[in-house]
């Protein structure tokens, strides 16, 4: 067996591919919890996109919404840490401060989504411009407040910690690493799976889902059977804020315990790409997000634990910045390869004007 592998590895050029495969087989199980963890903000952002776009509202302000709630979660934690910062419970390292901060982060995201809903549904502004303004505003306000607060070098309220599944389970052969992937997670990442499954079922089996899809496809038809298009859209866009809020909170309160200006680093947009690649479905979005985050995690793994041998030499000769750019490059490639075969909801991005109002 080992001899075969050595033989395969030593084939010129093609050997590099085998070496890469071998490296991936070795590296993916240990980094699999990281893959899900880094997929969390992307997948939640994509769920926000699904909620909005299925009802016909384009939301490219997800990036800014995530940033604002990341900041809010962090800053509320900072404010409450001295009084409510302890004691941390065994489960997830919960403290009263963290829980309140999470609620605040979600609240801010809901408020921003309400603003976007108002601009794109009632004011009937161009939805992409509305979203862009939210991104600029969120970047500006969080950057401004962060540089004021950072002067006093505050102490953070910490972060949610990961659940520790029994080692008996994670050490199981073959499936153990999958258990680790889904259960060695903080509360936000764990809730992701629940939300994705629930939303998938609701979207295609419930009254809410049917009405949402109809409104996103053909709002006029929905209105003629007595559905309030405006109300459905408001409800969906604002509810979508919940997911953008969780996405932001996961960045500043679970993946790290700090905030840096612009820390979302385009994840809100990668989320949109995941939503498109996932064909506007929750499960598809999650799978696409996992695909993107695998590249993120593998990129990190390559720089922290580079493979040995010939492949390692090749990879370490590449500039390290390449690995930073990897997720963005992959996003472009997959988007360009997939998008021609997907179809957005027919009324996506079009403001709806009720005939009765004219």
């Amino acid at each position: 067996m080992d001899q075969l592998i050595t033989a395969l590895y030593s084939i010129p050029l093609l050997g590099l591919v085998f070496q890469m495969a071998g490296y991936l087989i070795a590296i993916v199980p240990p980094i699999s919890p990281i893959i899900l963890r880094s997929a969390t903000p992307i997948a939640f952002g994509a769920l926000c996109g699904v909620m909005c776009e299925r009802s016909g509202v384009v939301n490219i302000g997800i990036e800014g919404t995530m940033l604002a709630s990341a900041f809010t979660g962090w800053v509320v934690g900072v404010a409450l840490a001295p009084t409510l910062g302890t004691p941390a419970t065994e489960l997830f390292g919960l403290t009263p401060a963290l829980v309140i901060a999470l609620i605040a982060a979600i609240g801010v995201a809901l408020a921003i989504s309400a603003l976007h809903a108002w601009l794109s549904i009632s004011v009937r502004a161009d939805q992409i411009i509305s979203g862009t303004i939210i991104n600029i505003a969120a970047f500006g306000v969080t950057g401004y407040l962060n540089s004021i607060i950072a002067k006093s070098s505050p102490t953070s309220a910490g972060a949610f910690s990961a659940f520790q599944p029994p080692t008996a389970l994670t050490d199981l052969p073959v499936v153990g690493w999958l258990i680790g992937m889904f259960f060695a997670q903080g509360p936000i990442s764990m809730s992701l799976i629940v939300f994705v499954i629930a939303l998938q079922i609701l979207l295609f089996r419930s009254r809410w889902g049917l009405r949402t899809r109809a409104v996103g496809e053909h709002p006029k038809a929905a209105e003629t059977v007595g559905i309030d298009v405006i109300l459905v859209r408001y409800r969906n866009v604002i509810a979508g804020g919940l997911f953008a809020g969780l996405a932001g909170a996961s960045l500043a309160m679970e993946a790290t315990n700090s905030f840096q200006a612009g820390m979302t680093a385009g994840r809100g947009f990668i989320a949109l790409a995941a939503m498109i690649v996932g064909r506007w479905t929750p499960v598809g979005s999650l799978l696409a997000a996992l695909l993107f985050s695998s590249f993120l995690a593998i990129g990190q793994a390559l720089s922290f634990a580079p493979p040995s041998g010939q492949l390692g030499d090749v990879l370490s000769s590449l500039p390290s910045q390449l690995y930073d750019a990897l997720p963005y490059i992959v996003t472009i490639i997959i988007l360009a390869g997939v998008v021609g075969r997907t179809r957005p909801p027919a009324a996506d991005g079009q403001p709806y004007e009720r005939e009765a109002a004219t």
Binding site: H218, A222, V225, A356, T358
Partner: protein, 509 residues
């Protein structure tokens, strides 16, 4: 409905209209495009608010502020443009807004399916609740719309131009369903501008002109001439005098053309025909039988898979739109807002839309504004476009004037071939007459004309020859002056093979 008045900026769409509908009657509402029929029905259905007047239901005044109010009171509407979501299933479309629930959150699909199938059987057709609506023919979509109303147990059913896109046979089938509904004691309001249809189906006819009721008739005590005069307000010739045509050499020769649609399936399969100069060839067919793709191929927007297109002796197969245009192909699209006009642009810019790069409108790549405006002023005069100036945005014009802008651009040059795709859809009688007369003039000037339409009447009125397109092929060609309407309709629906359209026998039985 009593004294209904609805004003829009600049027009009174409904001017004190009274309308009484009795249980179990089929009541036709007859009027030209823009006469105010649809507005009146939108008021009844809660899509528009009347400025004056009231609606009485069983003798009591009711307020209908939204479609849900209307539905709750047993009023349902089948719109001219179907209000169906193509990507949803039949059942989902029917359930929408009136969901049968298994519990507070989830739908009860089984129960819904059972009810839909039962309902369909009651009115004589088998329907698959799981079929995607987008994959159904227009006739079946019409039935889904009616099922939608029946699922809500409608007592009053409004149908807005329900036969516009149907073949004569499909129309008969729908009429049969309507008669059954009326026999059950439901009231039906049937909106149309087709006189013979109204005479056939209605128990009573109300005619509307310019927002007012101008007369009420019983079908037994009137005829087409009487109704037409009421509807238009003057004596009208029911058919334009098309004169005699003098076809000459074969101008357009299409042979064995195969074309694929955007999804890659072949929708034009081996079409071959010729159009002679000075001749109008009408292509009849139910929408979606490959006509759009055929036209797109002829104007250069779509590349054929195989086959040849020859124009005036030159092979123009696969040429791009510009080359087709320069070869002398003119095109008046069915959807002028999408293909024909750039609404935010001025009339002048729309008139030079296809010739902006040529002298005298441009020298090399610099526009000559003076020449562009001068040409526009001339076209406005020649084609009687009602506008204050050539610098007015196209969006501000009425539908008839917008179509005249398109006609001015496409007709006003030396043409080899003119393609007309439902050129008068949604226009008033005056504009229709104008466009028909221009078309005949163009024919007499020696242009080869291809007229494509789902509306059989227009085709029968103008064409020298009529080809029927069915599933991407021409199944028959008939002489335009002697063609039998029912035969053409049957060919449109079935392709002429000796078998009836699916499930149609039951419905018309």
């Amino acid at each position: 409905m009593r004294g209904i008045t609805k004003r829009y900026p600049g027009v009174v769409a409904n001017d004190h209209i009274d309308l009484t509908i009795k249980p179990g009657e089929i009541h036709a509402l007859l009027g030209e495009n823009g006469a105010g029929k649809s507005t009146l029905m939108n008021v009844l259905y809660g899509l528009a608010r009347p400025d004056e007047g009231e609606i009485l239901l069983d003798g009591t005044a009711v307020e209908i502020a939204s479609p849900s109010d209307a539905i709750a009171r047993g009023i349902s509407m089948v719109h001219q443009h179907f209000m169906l979501v193509p990507v949803l299933t039949v059942a989902e479309n029917i359930l929408l807004g009136e969901e049968t629930m298994a519990n507070a959150v989830f739908l009860d699909r089984k129960e819904a399916h059972r009810r839909i199938v039962d309902l369909g059987r009651r009115f004589g057709f088998e329907i698959d609740p799981e079929a995607k609506v987008g994959s159904l023919s227009v006739g079946w979509q019409q039935r889904v719309e009616i099922l939608k109303a029946l699922y809500r147990d409608a007592r009053i059913l409004v149908l807005d131009e329900p036969t516009a896109v149907l073949t004569p046979q499909e129309t008969e089938e729908i009429f049969a369903v309507l008669r059954r509904l009326a026999a059950e004691g439901r009231s039906i309001i049937f909106i149309s501008h087709k006189l013979y249809e109204v005479l056939e189906i209605a128990d009573r006819i109300t005619v509307i002109r310019r927002g007012r009721v101008v007369g009420e008739r019983l079908p037994g005590a009137t005829d087409e001439g009487d109704l037409a005069e009421l509807m238009v307000g003057r004596e009208v010739e029911l058919t334009v005098d098309r004169g005699t045509s003098h076809p000459a050499d074969a101008r357009l020769i299409v042979s064995d053309l195969h074309v694929r649609d955007d999804r890659g399936s072949e929708v034009v399969s081996g079409v071959g025909f010729e159009v002679r100069s000075g001749e109008i060839l009408g292509i009849a067919g139910v929408a979606g039988n490959g006509q759009d793709e055929l036209i797109q191929t002829l104007i250069g927007l779509r590349r054929p898979v195989s086959g040849t297109v020859t124009l005036g002796g030159q092979d123009v197969t696969g040429h791009l739109p510009r080359a087709m245009n320069e070869a002398g192909v003119g095109y008046v699209p069915a959807d002028r807002h999408r293909w024909g006009l750039v609404l935010p642009f001025t009339i002048a810019d729309n008139i030079v839309l296809t010739s902006y790069y040529r002298r005298p409108f441009a020298r090399r790549f610099v526009r000559d504004e003076a020449a562009i405006e001068k040409d526009a002023d001339r076209a406005i005069h020649d084609y009687d476009i009602r506008t204050p100036s050539a610098t007015v945005r196209a969006a501000t014009l009425s539908g008839g004037n917008q179509q005249k802008v398109v006609v001015a651009r496409e007709f006003d040059r030396d043409l080899q071939l003119l393609i007309l795709d439902q050129p008068t859809r949604g226009l008033d009688v005056g504009s229709i007459e104008f466009i028909h007369r221009q078309t005949i003039a163009k024919r007499d000037a020696g242009t080869a004309i291809l007229l494509v339409s789902a509306e059989l009447d227009e085709i029968l009125e103008l064409s020298d020859r009529i080809a029927v397109m069915y599933r991407g092929a021409f199944v028959a060609v008939r002489d335009g002056r002697t063609a039998d309407k029912n035969e053409i309709g049957l060919l449109m629906a079935t392709g002429g093979v000796d078998r009836p359209a699916e499930a149609s026998t039951e419905a018309s039985a």
